[in-house]
Structure formats: structure tokens, C-alpha cells
Amino acid sequence: MTSISKPAALCPVCEASIDAPADSITGEILACADCGAELEITSLAPLTLEEAPDVAEDWGE
């Protein structure tokens, strides 16, 4: 997967600065350490975070 340097992005909920781990990929979920929001990485360069959708009823394994 693409490994471009990833500057921090702001949490869309509380505006805390968030660093994605080096091996992050789009579609992955991060939790904001400040507010606990579940955030989805929607792009890596630039790092973009959106609030992850709630678990839908048909989700599972």
C-alpha cells in the first residue's frame, strides 16, 4: 500500500491533532485519544479523517 509521510490531521469531533500509525491504510478506523470518537481514514495523503459510520444492523462476521 502507499507509504507517504502522513502529517497529523484534526479530529473532526474535537479538533485534537491525530497522527496515523505508519502502516495505516484507507478504510481503517482510529480512535481519537482525546474524545474517543471512532474515525475512519478516508485518505492518506493528505491524512483525512471522518467520523466512522455507526455499526449497521447487517454488519458482522
Binding site: 478504510g27 458482522g60 462476521e61
Partner: protein, 292 residues
């Protein structure tokens, strides 16, 4: 065929499992395309060709997986798991029917469509009994009904949840288990790994915590899991089993099973075994296309 990869891995939200699967494929030097089901547009009723000969679906969404797989199969793709398997595993009533058709032991199950008839079904099963959503996972909304009054409250509550599936009451005999149940991974015809899930709570899904311990794959547990996997159509499957007084019973089969907590205790490279099997299917498909 275009110059696209022979394999697509379809995902929605990425779990640890999907990252491990990508890593396993990459470690094997396999060319694959990562496809987000949120971006898919599939033409139904059209004789177009699937962009990928083999599609490995690891989406969290049962609905998306079911429809995407149906369309891609009609377009000629080999889907892991197949639309038939997804449709059977994703719906607990369909799973029960598949078990019954193949003689796979499973707890007695009644299906009812109104609160009144569901209450009668509970009396027939006896208390406690278990109510599960026909479509659902991770132990979500799985409830133990201990009495008529509890059953009334829970059934009424489900009936107003909105979706029609919640008024399909899937009721099951409660099986007293010895503080644990089993999760067994089946790949093709082989049982590759098995764990016991210990829990204080009667719902033992590892997504809810609980202790995990390796189980033997070569004995009755593995055999029963392979039978259950065959009963739903076979593929890459995770089978949940319970030890009843008179032997093993199968609860369900998962078509997009989670395995992150099962790798360390078993020492089995579960994503690697899955990737090897899928790449075997890719090789077969590519060979068929070349010599067709």
C-alpha cells in the same frame, strides 16, 4: 481480460483481519486489487464480465456482500464465499434449514412471526430459551428469555425495532454449556484451527472479551465443523459450536469470520492459510481462462 488483477478483495471498514489478509497476500507476492464496497457500482441484468476472475469478500455488511456476490457471480466471477453460502450463513433461519437438510446437529429452533405465536413457541421450547435476530452477529441482540414475562418484554421490544427481520422471531432451546464453546476455522475441506472460548457470560463471542484457548482440530470438533461448513456450501468459514449433554451441536457458520484472537493461542497462521487457499482458486481460474 483487462490488465486488472485476477483477484479482488472487497472490504468495507477494515478490521485487523483484513489488514492481516492483505499482508498475507503481499507476503506471497500475489497481485490483488483492494475494492471498497462503498464505491462499487454493479450492473445487474447485463451480460458484462466481472472485472476480476476471483473475488474474496471481506466486507462487514451482509447486505452488500449478498448482492455484490450475486451480481459478480452472474458476471462469471468465482466468489469466496459464494452467494449461496453468504445467503445461507447471513440468515440464521436459512442456516438452520441447511443444517437440518444435512443432518448437522443444532439446538431445536422455532420460527414465529407475531409476539403471541412467539410466546407460544417459548412455552413449547421451555424456559430459558434464546431469541436471536435472523440477521445479526457478534452476539448483538441475542437474548436469553428466562420467563414468560421476560419473553413478553423482549419480544414486544424487538417488534418495534423497525426492520421486518426483527419480527421474524428465531427462538432456540437454551443449551447449558460447560463455561465454554468453540470456534472452528474451516478452509475448503480442512479444519485449520480451533479455539475454546471461555466466558463467565453465556454469550461467549470473543468480540465481547473472554479467554481463548487452543482446541484440537483433528477430533470430533474438527469433523463436526467440516460437516457444518459443507452443509452451508463450503468455502472459508468460521463455525460456532457448543457442547450439549449428548454431544456437539452447531450454532452457526460465519462467512466473514473474525480470527484475530485465535492466531496467538493456536499458533496457526490463519490469514496465511486462507490466502493460500484463495490463491489456489485464482491459479485454477487463470489456468481455465488461458486454456478455454
Amino acid at each position: 481480460m483487462s490488465n486488472r488483477a485476477a483477484l479482488a478483495v472487497v472490504t468495507s471498514r477494515l478490521r485487523v483481519e483484513e489488514k492481516l489478509i492483505f499482508a498475507a497476500l503481499e507476503a506471497r507476492g500475489a497481485a490483488f486489487e483492494r475494492v471498497d464496497d462503498a464505491a462499487l457500482q454493479l450492473e445487474a441484468g447485463h451480460a458484462s464480465e466481472s472485472p476480476w476472475p476471483v473475488v474474496w469478500n471481506r466486507s462487514l455488511s451482509f447486505g452488500r456482500t449478498l448482492y455484490a456476490t450475486q451480481i459478480l457471480e452472474q458476471q462469471g466471477a468465482l466468489c469466496v464465499n459464494s452467494a449461496h453460502v453468504v445467503g445461507t450463513c447471513g440468515d440464521k433461519a436459512a442456516t438452520s434449514l441447511a443444517f437440518a437438510a444435512s443432518g448437522v446437529p443444532t439446538p431445536r429452533t422455532l420460527v414465529a412471526f407475531t409476539v403471541e405465536s412467539a410466546l407460544e413457541a417459548c412455552e413449547t421450547l421451555g424456559y430459558p430459551c434464546v431469541l436471536k435476530p435472523v440477521v445479526g452477529s457478534w452476539g448483538r441482540l441475542v437474548a436469553r428469555l428466562d420467563s414468560t414475562s421476560a419473553a413478553e418484554a423482549v419480544l414486544e421490544d424487538r417488534a418495534v425495532l423497525g426492520s421486518w427481520q426483527h419480527s421474524v422471531f428465531y427462538l432456540q432451546e437454551y443449551v447449558e454449556k460447560p463455561g465454554r464453546d468453540a470456534r472452528v476455522f474451516v478452509v475448503g475441506d480442512e479444519c485449520i484451527a480451533a479455539i475454546w472460548r471461555h466466558s463467565e457470560h453465556w454469550i461467549t463471542n470473543t468480540a465481547r472479551g473472554g479467554r481463548v484457548e487452543a482446541a484440537r482440530t483433528d477430533g470430533p470438533l474438527g469433523e463436526m465443523a467440516v460437516r457444518a461448513a459443507r452443509a452451508v456450501g463450503g468455502g472459508i468459514l468460521a463455525v460456532d459450536l457448543i457442547e450439549a449433554a449428548d454431544g456437539l451441536q452447531v450454532l452457526e457458520v460465519n462467512h466473514s469470520g473474525e480470527f484475530r484472537n485465535s492466531i496467538a493461542p493456536t499458533g496457526v497462521d490463519i490469514p496465511g492459510a486462507m490466502a493460500d487457499w484463495v490463491l489456489g482458486r485464482v491459479a485454477e481460474r487463470v489456468a481455465q481462462e488461458v486454456f478455454a
